[in-house]
Symmetry: none
Subunit: 216 residues, 4 copies
DNA sequence: CATGAATGAGGATTCATTCAT
DNA sequence: TATGAATGAATCCTCATTCAT
């Protein structure tokens, strides 16, 4: 199926904002990459910033959706180690499958205007809250050893987010094995080395496959 | 001690490049932040890019210097866990003490011209090689459990680098305790949960205090 | 009676050109005000300038028509004071009834291309000639005291034209009384304070009512 | 004495805004008329609108200053006819001496942003209040016959302002005689045909000569 | 050492207009 | 009849940089 022009614009923006940054990308770069004139660009977008906000919002929306879909389908009370495995799996798969989108989200927040920034940061905080809650449950249950839960959460998130900065689908490690490896690392960090027996990670892979259209 | 104008320019650039990005920072922003006119700026720098390269080079140089100074003073053959603790300690302290500098290094590589980029990426690779070697030694010695050493290295580095994105000296955790916590996380990730008995981490703190002028 | 789309376009243009000027009005403003797309606009007009020329031509045509109709139905030789009263009445009523149209005529001549400008200015000169002739007759007849007839004519015209800049139908003075007041002012300026006994002003009101559809 | 670049920019703007309107004047037109590049323009001005506001403010400031200086030096209680003669004289001389400036003030108010417009309109209202007060005094003293003082004021102002639209220093009538003629017209409009015996008009000519640098 | 003046190139965005549908 | 799509040219303004003073 051929792409609509609007989609081509969106993709060009994702690629260029990720590669050269928002301020480093000119309107002409975008137009050229989308295969239209710079004036035509404005039929498919509002401001350059609107484009950025749209990219960020969609990316964060998907991440939130995926996290909630995954956790909501778990038996309650869920095994914290299982839940965290799922979160890590999702996060890693998202960042490996959409490295450009997620890098834009991570790097270009400072390019947003005040109101847009508030909105986007709000979404991001919502997402991080899910992690915080999951970690807190594990600590409360005595499953996780995290003397400074906030620090641990940030360490985990940065580790997983970093995948977007180096992962290549042409690398030796298939994506699901990478995600599994990261889940293992995460549980080790939390002092919970036992392999998660639950099915959350598997469910996470399914959700990821659907949300980010990863593999058939 | 009063600052040189050149130093004021350097610091202004670090702060602004970190906050708004290289392309998002104008020459006039720099001049204003440095307290001089934009024409005078050119007495203390070459191009805007030279300024960026200078910041990156100095930051990486210090990191390399610190890593080498620390590892070189260890007894040979060093304990890999001990060595890795030292690397993590240094890296975390560097990124917490100089978050602006390190964020510039991490985020603005794409703003460099080809030759400058090669140079900077070369320095960065040199530094990462130290980590790779250390991890490899640990694996070879059977101390580390890292089925995919490269993946583990990247996970470790991203986790530690991320400190620059959130650490605040006004937070509850003192810097050395933060570094120790990260060292613990790192060793856990490597399946080497035993606390490092060696003195490398302590030595790392000394080096860090000297290189980045941390605490009296 | 519903308006033609063409009429809606015309009216939108009049309103906007008067309010924001020709150059200050975009083709999209026009389209929005007319309730159609900017592409559809071009089914009802030629260029943007054609629209402007059309507005100006119609406005001046009516003014000329009204002045001629009024003066032509006067007994010859007409009383100059009576004739001037009629001209002032017409001019004031026209500018009060169609302030937007007349302001466009007065303010946007400089926006016209050379050939269009020549045409429009020709029409305007034709109209002003009627005033000049009327004043000259009064001076020749010894009824008007106007040492500098040209200056007086311009003073009169500017005074009357100015009505378009401030008159509001919601003001305290009904339109015909306003016109009568201006006729009085005009005759005073010409040193002919005696109230015009003739019927020209009344005839002027009739013509105005017909040409600009003023009150039943 | 040679003109500074800033003055050249100011004058170019006055001339072009008057001739083609604010929106009809491009930044390149301004630059070319000032003899510099369009980028250099921005060393001597803020926004294009700032330039417009500056022109308007200065013009209105001078008019207000002149009116106050003139009226303040009259004996109290001043003769209303005398005072009005002075106002007319000033207004006419101002509009004849600075036709471009005053036309910009009169025609381009709609090009101002909201806050600027408020300010400028405020100045204009201040000025018109002086006329209103003077007329009211004359009416109260029984010297003026103005059944609708507001209408009369507007008629007077429009008449005098119109001078800027046609006066040429190369015309047959010297400026001071033109002003005297207009004063006569004004008093006739007010039903006060007797020549003003006072010295206000003379004083007005002196003030005008100083404020607008008219004749030695 | 310091800077006001200067600019060509480029920034994002809007312009009036055309045309295939 | 009506309009989405398209665009070259132009909009105002800022960019990094140079240079005479």
């Amino acid at each position: 199926m051929a792409l609509t022009t609007e989609q081509r614009v969106h993709r060009a923006a994702v690629k260029l904002f990720a590669a050269k940054g928002f301020h480093g990308t000119g309107i002409r770069d975008l137009a050229q990459a989308a295969g239209i004139s710079s004036a035509s660009l404005y039929h498919y977008m509002g401001t350059k910033e609107d484009l950025l906000v749209g990219i960020m919002r969609e990316c964060l929306d998907r991440l939130l959706l995926a996290a909630r879909q995954t956790l909501d389908t778990m038996d309650e009370p869920a095994d914290p180690a299982d839940a965290l495995s799922a979160l890590v799996t999702l996060h890693v798969m998202a960042h490996a499958a959409q490295p450009d989108e997620t890098r834009v989200v991570d790097n270009e927040v400072s390019a947003l205007s005040r109101p847009a920034r508030r909105w986007i940061v709000g979404l991001r905080d919502e997402y991080e809250d899910i992690w915080a809650t999951t970690i807190a449950k594990g600590v409360a249950a005595g499953v996780f050893d995290a003397p400074e839960p906030a620090v641990t959460r940030l360490a985990l998130l940065e580790m997983c987010t970093g995948v977007a900065r180096w992962y290549s689908p042409r690398g030796p490690l298939p994506l699901d094995r990478l995600a599994a490896r990261y889940a293992q690392l995460a549980l080790r960090m939390l002092g919970s080395p036992s392999p998660p027996g639950g099915k959350a990670a598997e469910r996470a892979r399914e959700v990821a496959a659907q949300v980010w259209r990863i593999r058939p």
